[in-house]
Amino acid sequence: MKQFRHIFAFEYRSYAKNKAFVATTVILILIMAVVLCFPRFSSGDFLSGLMAGEARTLAVAGEDADSVAAFLQTVLPYDRVTTASADEAALHASVLSGEYDAVILLESPTQYQYITETASLTDTTSMTVSEALSARLQSIQLASYGLTDAQVASAMNAAVTAVPVTLGNDQSQTFFYTYILIFLLYMAVMIYGQFVAQSVAVEKSSRAMELLITSAKPVNLMFGKVLGAGAAGFTQLILLLGSAFLLYRVNADYWAGNATVASIFDMPLPILLYTILFFVLGFLLYAFLYGALASLASRLEDINTLVMPVTFLMIIAFMVSIFSMLGDVDSLLMRVASFVPFTSPMAMFTRICMGSVAPWEIVLSIVILVGCTVGIGYAAAAIYRVGVLMYGKPPKFGELIRAVKNDRAARRKR
């Protein structure tokens, strides 16, 4: 235990003293400070301006272009709407030359051409225009039946509204913070897992391992390393998230009005606690694997190839959760994934945030995950014990299993 403490402290300190690690932390905090303080120093409308992008120039051509243009200008206040003559070739040329961002060429009262250079995935202008022109057409037709302006307006404005009654999670509230946390979890495991792999491989390639393995128990080395890197990573995350939270609180008034940002920072306490739990368990599980695999590398260049399978596992877990967030988070796939240890940190967490999970499911998932993490920790130490003394080409999977088995058999005999 004393040995473990020394190893843990040594590993933690080597991160805390690492200039690159400290610099990254500071830079990330600074970036966050700039982003979160931005509304304080910019005009109040900056967010909507940011979302809307630059003002565009639209040209309306064809039948009744003048009055349509005037009408569209009121619908698209951020864009500039002008008129142009209805020469199709000339219009194409001016779109290609960049004079107009888009041209609305009216062909009949019920059809127009929407001409742009590239059809953008996110451009909603044509939809807005279609809606506006449809409404305009409807008003004109209603008026032609002899209705008064007031009757037309009342008919056009008649609408049915829904009052939402949500019994479980409101995904419009939970989506963003879940997305951010899942992404953070993915990044954290990837980055800090690589740290563990790196540190094991450095010790092996510099042969510091020769001394370490003769002065400390492999289990202590493995757990000390993984937990040391984990604690360092956790410190970094706490600093980042803590300062993000403080900066948000300080600037909360300026962010008022923005539901997305508010939903991220007003996440409920139980979610925060689940975040910590799944972060810790998910990190440990993957970091043990990273450490064990890195112990097989004789050169630093070998690590990437060796840890590839674990990285893929991680990416699959991430993909499953992220894609189901856009659909049904309680699908069969997600329900299975939330009990499989390698996917459960993300899948179960997503379901807790966005779906409906029974308490027993959460407990079972956590119990399986904890059991597996401890088991994999010891397995990783067994691989590490054998792996660190293998020099040369990394062993094949079969060879490795045999070597570990032999080692354990010999040890049991003692």
């Binding site: 020394h6 042969r207 002065s215 400390a216």
Partner: protein, 304 residues
């Protein structure tokens, strides 16, 4: 103290690395573990240090199973190993802590050893900035940081210049003198000859020779003698004159005359034959084989 490896066998998969290996080391009498590359020296050392267990056999300290958690072992690996990018003092203290001594003690020991090996000035430098010889000295400090009772040195002299080698020799002599249990592994025979009372020669995983170096040398046929003289002309004339059935051969070397007898018991005949020129003789002595010759004798042939 007496450290004993008894009938150690170890194989990795199909490969038998050690077969029935036994040897022992006593406090104050260093053991030289010799062997060609791949003979099994490092595996033997790792089993002694319990990095992995043997397939059969045991390691005993004073008759009881060696417990590495009770006895401190200092190890200087052949492939030097420390953190190249960390400050020297920091890692020395770390290895001290791992070996089980307090931070204060580790600092004190490190200071003392750095001073003894004349490398105090580098204490806060990163290891990789030091010359090879100085890195080697730091490695020795790491070996001795916890004041171990058992010291295992694997090729400690490789890469040292004569001055540093002398410094290291003095330190090793002190260790032996202080009653430490010292085990050397090397193929630099001159150093082994200088320090080790006992040797064990490993060849292809087996001990082919072990015991006190002096006895081993004596056990070789003592039929070769060296004659030193101020007048080799007279000596040669005397030995060449007449019929001498006991004389198997002679060879004039740089400043000695090597004489081989048919039988070591014929020394008397030689002395009598040389009597007339006794005034010109400086010395007549039995020529013992060097450790180098012994080693080559036992380990020639295919190695693994």
């Amino acid at each position: 103290m007496r450290l004993e490896a008894k009938n150690i066998t170890k194989s990795f998969g199909e490969k038998h690395v050690l077969r029935d290996v036994s040897f022992s080391v006593e406090s104050g009498r260093a053991l030289g573990l010799l062997g060609r590359n791949g003979a099994g020296k490092t595996t033997s050392i790792r089993i002694l240090m319990q990095v992995f267990p043997p397939d059969s056999g045991e390691v005993l300290l004073d008759g009881e199973r060696l417990r590495t958690d009770r006895v401190r072992i200092g190890y200087l690996p052949e492939e030097r190993g420390l953190y190249p990018k960390k400050p020297i003092m920091e890692q020395l203290v770390y290895f001290g802590l791992l070996a089980g001594i307090s931070k204060k003690q580790a600092l004190q020991n490190a200071e003392r050893l750095l001073d003894r090996l004349e490398v105090t000035e580098y204490r806060d430098r990163r290891l990789e900035t030091l010359s090879k010889g100085n890195q080697q000295k730091i490695q020795l400090v790491a070996t001795l940081i916890a004041d171990p009772q058992i010291v295992i040195l694997d090729e400690p002299f490789s890469g040292l210049d004569p001055v540093n080698a002398q410094l290291l020799k003095d330190v090793v002599r002190e260790l032996i003198g202080r009653g430490k249990l010292v085990l050397f592994s090397s193929h630099q025979m001159n150093y082994i000859e200088e320090f080790c009372d006992n040797i064990a020669i490993l060849h292809e995983g087996k001990i082919v020779l072990s015991g006190a170096l002096r006895d081993i040398k004596r056990s070789f046929p003592r039929n070769m003698l060296e004659i030193r003289s101020t007048d080799f002309g007279r000596v040669l004339d005397l030995l060449r004159a007449g019929e001498k059935p006991w004389l198997a051969g002679m060879e004039k070397q740089e400043d000695t005359l090597a004489v081989t007898l048919r039988d070591p018991a014929d020394k008397g005949e030689l002395y009598r034959a040389l009597a007339p020129c006794a005034d010109a003789l400086d010395a007549v002595s039995v020529r013992e084989p060097s450790l180098n010759e012994i080693f080559v004798h036992y380990t020639k042939g295919a190695s693994v």
